[in-house]
């Protein structure tokens, strides 16, 4: 460890301030609550000194100095507020407003505009400017990026975040002087990742979002901080919602308070692709197949029908004749509840999900090795990173952001091993192109025979460098599974402080695995044969492994499986299941859309999505985070509620499923009007007020209680979790895991602009895909 940096003492507005040597004055001021205004200064982006708003008086200096470019020095005496300084700032605002269109009443940024705020703080009530303003028409640069040139104050934040932060370099500055302007890389349009970071960082309404512009006034929205439902990285996202005819409509996504593991970052999906929720194809009522056609039914009818048919199968053939397929986008509580429903209410281990990574093998490799997994925060802070396989820029945008910015801001060393020349090689200290990632992994694990004579020297050199690293994070994609994860763990054990990170693909892929959506594994990777604590609590735990997803569809074909309960998954569409295999099976599907699987079902139940409910997600690193209800569609129900209703309809005592209201009279929701989502809304209210009476069987917090009690590693701080902070779970404390059949792992293969079923129903993602130039983006500056 390096020595703690030396503290430098300065005086700001008469207050003593001590900050580490090298701190910028503007940051030092913040530590004592003195906010020095600025437009162009932005933490972690290169310094500009362009807006001149942060001018302060530094003793012994003849001119006012910019606090954003001045490093503190011992004994410095600073004044940040005086008539002279206020006048300087006032004149900057005046000069900006000279050419600014002042169309605030229709500007998207109106109400949350830094220029408005600055004018309010420093500006002049009197306008000195009487010349004609330069008008330029608004330009559309992409389906999601619009540019209104006269509003731009040229703070260059967009240029920097696109280049330095995103490594995309799609924005630049043309011309000079008063006609300087921000320009896109393709002259009249943008060819980029469409992440929208430029819009988010714009202090005014110069860059606006195609998905949001002119939709609402900022103050008409309520802002809900929740977790993104797209990839497995788990960005925190703030959804702006507004009342609509059917509940609450999501109109905007950003990361408003820059909190969470992603800080400033969101990708295109997190920022814009909430719009699947508003898609007109969304199911609005339960459907029951009658005479070969799916026809609308009431909720009561549907639950009664499903309960009756499940009960018939149970009575006749037992739970082994029913299969359950869970989801990678439902909450931990729902996943836990689902597997408990399968095992306890149906008495079967026939449960599985769409696997995208070998988490059971990861659990097996790290069993008992505490502190060996990396969180998303670790990726940003590690002194070195080894990335084997995957293309994070496309598949894990936040992970890629963490890696890039760790390299840029902390000089981390990145080692990339990949069979393709992925974009992150540009940040890499070393890039090793391999024909197979597994060969290299096995080489690291000690099998040197895999390095051909020609490559051995290069591979040895990489391995030697890796071994010398302190605090290495090893990240691997789905190319690595089974025994190879063991090999990697062995190598990690030989590098002091090394941590591992296993990449799965969907928002709660890790949660689905951790919550035991496996035919042979209980929550926390305990084998079904050794149920232990679970058995004590549940009383019923079938000991024989059930059918995996492939076996289930074999069994429907042979007629062995009579009923299939599918939640938030589309095996027919995604896993190439032959539809004819389901001909004689009673299929129940809970989903937002009539997917290929839902279209074959006997009962389809319209489901709420992750933005419409409360619960938790676990990202691919094992960081658990809270979901808060933002949007609401009164015509859909959360999966949690539906599982409980079906259990109830079978005649199962739901008290044995959800440990709610111990000893207290149950409120099934009816007393509050029984409107769909009511109970869930109630749960949010309870959380918001720090209360957990667990009065409702639809209360996911009751299940979270059980998870935290029974799943080792999930016993994280409830306070932190409910406060919206990420908590790293410990896989070491969990069960022994297993090595699984690798054929069951089917990577999602999503890129930046696709997101499985959700992506198919996102108008924004589709419009961006249609607009892409076929030619690849430009090269990047070399210096």
């Amino acid at each position: 460890m390096a020595d703690a940096p030396k503290l430098v003492n300065i005086t700001v507005d008469g207050k003593p301030v001590a900050a580490p040597a090298g701190t910028l004055l503007i940051e030092a001021c913040k530590t004592v609550g003195i906010e020095v205004p600025s437009f162009c200064y932005y933490p972690n982006l290169s310094l500009q000194g362009a807006c001149r708003m942060c001018l302060v008086r530094v003793e012994k200096m003849p001119k006012l100095q910019t606090a954003c470019t001045t490093g503190i020095t011992e004994g410095m005496v600073v004044v940040t507020d005086s008539d002279e300084i206020r006048q300087a700032r006032k004149s900057m605002v005046e000069m900006l407003l000279g050419n600014h269109p002042l169309d605030c009443p229709v500007c998207d940024a109106g109400g949350e505009c830094e220029l408005q705020d600055m004018t309010f703080s420093y500006g002049a009530a009197e306008s000195k400017f009487i010349e004609l303003k330069q008008h330029r028409d608004e330009q559309q640069w992409s389906p999601v990026v619009y540019f209104d040139r006269p509003r731009c104050i040229l703070c260059y934040r967009c240029v920097r975040v696109c280049g330095e932060g995103m490594d995309v370099w799609a924005l630049g500055v043309d011309n000079r002087g008063a006609v300087s302007t921000i320009v896109p890389n393709k002259q009249d349009h943008l060819e980029c990742e469409e992440c929208g970071m430029c819009i988010d960082i714009c202090p005014v309404g110069a860059l606006t979002s195609g998905a949001y512009r002119y939709k609402t006034r900022p103050w008409e929205m309520k802002h809900v901080g929740t977790t993104c439902t797209h990839c497995a990285d788990g960005c925190k996202t703030t959804l702006g919602v507004r009342r609509s005819d059917t509940g609450m409509e999501i109109v905007r996504g950003d990361n408003r308070d820059k909190s969470g593991i992603n800080g400033d970052f969101l990708c295109i999906k997190g920022r814009y692709a909430f719009d699947f929720a508003n898609n007109e194809d969304r199911l609005t009522q339960p459907l029951i197949r009658k005479g070969g056609r799916l026809v609308p039914a009431t909720w009561e009818e549907a639950f009664e029908f499903v309960g009756r048919r499940f009960k018939e199968v149970l009575d006749r053939e037992g739970g082994r004749a029913i299969g359950v397929i869970g989801s990678t986008r439902t909450t931990n509580e729902e996943n836990y509840l689902l597997q408990k429903f399968a095992r306890v209410a149906l008495g079967t281990n026939n449960i599985d999900h769409h696997r995208t990574a070998d988490f059971p093998a990861f659990a097996a490799a790290l069993h008992g090795k505490s502190g060996a997994t990396a969180s998303m925060r670790d990726v940003y802070n590690a002194s070195a990173i080894l990335l084997i396989g995957n293309d994070p820029t496309e598949e894990h945008p936040l992970l890629a952001w963490q890696i890039r910015n760790n390299v840029r801001l902390h000089n981390a060393r990145l080692y990339v091993v990949n069979s393709r020349p992925i974009k992150l090689r540009r940040q890499a200290a070393s890039f090793t192109q391999v024909t197979s990632e597994t060969d290299f992994t096995e080489f690291l694990g000690g099998d040197e025979s895999l390095a051909s004579f020609a490559t051995r020297e290069g591979w040895n050199a990489v391995r030697d460098k890796l071994r010398a690293e302190q605090g290495l994070v090893i990240i691997f994609g789905s190319e690595i599974f089974g025994e190879d994860i063991q090999a990697l763990a062995r190598f990690a054990a030989s590098v002091p402080g090394a941590k591992l990170l296993c990449l799965g693909d969907y928002a709660n892929s890790r949660g689905a695995a951790d919550m035991g959506l496996y035919p042979d594994l209980l929550p926390g990777y305990f084998p079904v044969s050794g149920a232990g604590k679970f058995h004590q609590e549940w009383k019923i735990t079938p000991a024989a492994p059930g059918m995996n997803i492939g076996q289930m569809f074999e069994a429907t074909k042979t007629g062995q499986l009579k009923a299939l309960y599918v939640i938030g998954a589309n095996p027919v569409g995604r896993l190439n299941v032959n539809p004819s295999t389901l001909k004689n099976t009673f299929v129940v599907v809970q989903d937002m859309f009539l997917t290929e699987t839902a279209a074959l079902a006997d009962v389809v139940l319209p489901a709420a999505n992750a933005y419409e409910k409360a619960g938790t997600f676990t990202n691919t690193c094992g960081d658990i985070q809270i979901l808060k209800k933002a949007g609401e569609v009164t015509t859909a129900k959360p999966d949690f509620e539906m599982i409980v209703r079906i259990a109830d309809a079978i005649g199962f005592d739901v008290r044995k499923l959800v440990p709610f209201g111990h000893g207290v009279h149950a409120d099934m929701g009816q007393s509050r009007g029984a409107q769909s989502g009511e109970a869930d809304q109630h749960a949010v209210w309870l959380e918001a007020n720090g209360l957990e009476p667990k009065m409702s069987p639809f209360d996911p917090v009751a299940t979270l209680d059980e998870i935290q009690r029974l799943v080792p590693g999930y016993d994280v701080s409830r306070t932190e979790l409910l406060a919206g902070n990420d908590q790293h779970t410990s896989i070491a404390a969990m069960g022994p895991g297993t090595v699984q059949n690798p054929e069951l792992i089917v990577p999602a293969k999503n890129n930046l602009f696709s997101s499985g079923t959700l992506g198919r129903y996102s108008r924004t993602l589709n419009s961006v895909i249609e607009n892409k130039d076929p030619e690849p983006a430009d090269a990047v500056p070399t210096d």
């Binding site: 310094l47 500009q48 000194g49 362009a50 807006c51 001149r52 001018l55 003849p62 001119k63 006012l64 470019t69 006048q87 300087a88 004149s91 900057m92 005046e94 000069m95 900006l96 000279g98 050419n99 000195k128 400017f129 009487i130 010349e131 004609l132 104050i153 040229l154 500055v173 011309n175 000079r176 002087g177 008063a178 006609v179 300087s180």
Partner: protein
């Protein structure tokens, strides 16, 4: 090709080879060329720096910083290579002296660059010449090639065992690039936007290496100092203002031209004796003493010695040596407008006060000059200029503000004479550029 002039009061140091064919290397050698660098090769670096420091040579680009002192800021040890950068991006309105040096005596600049390199421990130098001076770039390319051919550049220069490379570099039209940090950006192939300082170029300059940036005239002054000594040079001028400098007389003057006069030469004498006075029997109204960035002096303020410190005390600047005479037929509003149009055109646009301030002032002055002025415009022009002053990212904002403030202050009456729809009293036809106004 620029025409040469002469006057008996001239002291020819930098211009001593003008008109003598010194672009040819052999002729340059006959005229004491490359003697100073041979001498410098035998000197300790610190001795060279001290000689230049003690000579009182101050930057001829306009800032007037002691050249030797600037060199002494370069760290002795550096991981990155050190560089000498000759600023030949002469663009300050009223200034045309470096042009003559490149045209008449290019080797003196090369020699100055090498000596600066020996002083600070650099082994390469760049000579940046503004894009419009294409024929000078060609002269310089030839001079550099000739110096290489003689073994004065490259490996083992003058058989000394030392290596030194000099490269030419051409600009493409940007006043702002004359600012030293913007010059480096431009040389590195970027937009000419200045850099944040500190770090100063002497510590972190071209490609991150310590860099000395000097004006072409400054560098051409170095060889004579090395040959004849600091004391000799210092004694040519006034205290702390060593040597001579090239004054470019232009505007309303009978004998315009570039004259080399001792530092501290009286301005009045310069105008009336060297320059031969004001043509057409007109009276002098104002003088721009050192390029368009300097506050103007009125005809009553010109009896003073032209050195950095005196001009500073007089509320102006010695600047880059561009002395522009303005007679009483000239509209000072139009003059202020012309200056502002220039800065508006040349502002790099990086910072708010310069970008917006020059544009606003340009628009206001244009309207004002065309007869659309209102009384509060006069205060507003003053207000805007004062609020740019000292608050911009680089000195370009000051350069725009200073002359404007001085013109409004010293010629306020002329502004008032334009009020109430009256057309410019100096304009013959009354047709002037006009902008629409919402007043």
């Amino acid at each position: 090709m620029a025409t040469l002039v002469s006057h008996p009061d001239e002291v020819r140091i930098v211009s001593k080879r003008f008109g003598q064919g010194a672009t040819k290397i052999d002729r340059y050698l006959e005229l004491d060329g490359y003697k100073a660098v041979r001498k410098a090769l035998g000197m300790q670096p610190d001795a060279i720096i001290n000689e230049v420091k003690n000579s009182g040579l101050r930057g001829r680009g306009g800032a007037g910083f002691n050249t030797g002192l600037k060199w002494s800021f370069v760290p002795k040890q550096s991981v990155k290579p050190k560089y000498i950068l000759c600023n030949g991006d002469e663009s300050e309105p009223g200034t045309c002296k470096d042009r003559l040096i490149f045209e008449e005596d290019p080797h003196s600049v090369i020699e100055g660059v090498i000596i600066a390199g020996l002083a600070v421990g650099a082994s390469s130098g760049y000579i940046y010449i503004r894009g419009e001076y294409r024929y000078l770039l060609e002269i310089m390319q030839k001079a550099i090639a000739d110096a290489y051919a003689k073994g004065f550049l490259g490996k083992n220069i003058f058989g000394s065992g030392r290596d030194f490379e000099v490269y030419w570099h051409g600009g493409a039209g940007a006043y702002e690039v004359g600012e030293e940090s913007a010059l480096m950006e431009s040389l590195e192939g970027k937009r000419g936007v200045p850099r944040i300082r500190p770090p100063f170029p002497a510590v972190v300059g071209l490609w991150g290496g310590p860099t000395v940036i000097n004006n072409a005239e400054t560098l051409a002054s170095v060889p004579p100092i090395i040959l004849a000594g600091a004391e000799w040079f210092a004694n040519l001028g006034t205290p702390k203002n060593g040597g001579t400098r090239l004054f470019c007389l232009s505007g309303h003057v009978n004998k315009p031209g570039v004259y080399e006069l001792p530092m501290g030469y009286n301005l009045k004498k310069m105008i009336y004796e060297v320059g031969g006075g004001i043509p057409n029997g007109r009276k002098l109204k104002a003088v721009v003493p050192g390029g368009s960035s300097c506050p103007l002096l009125t005809a009553e303020e010109i009896d003073l010695p032209m050195d950095f410190d005196t001009l500073m005390k007089a509320g102006s600047m010695l600047g880059s040596g561009g002395v522009v005479m303005v007679d009483d037929s000239t509209c000072m509003v139009k003059f202020a407008l012309r200056i502002m149009k220039f800065y508006q055109h040349e502002s790099c646009g990086w910072c708010i006060p310069c970008r917006e301030g020059t544009d606003w002032l340009d628009k206001t002055l244009t309207r004002f000059h065309s007869g659309g002025g209102i009384r509060k415009d006069i205060d507003n022009i003053q207000y805007l200029s004062e609020n740019m002053l000292g608050r911009t990212f680089c000195p370009l904002g000051d350069a725009a503000a200073l002359p404007t403030i001085s013109i409004v202050k010293k010629f306020r009456k002329e502004f008032e004479d334009h009020l109430e729809g009256r057309p410019c009293p100096f304009e013959k036809k009354g047709t002037v550029e006009q902008l629409p106004v919402f007043a």
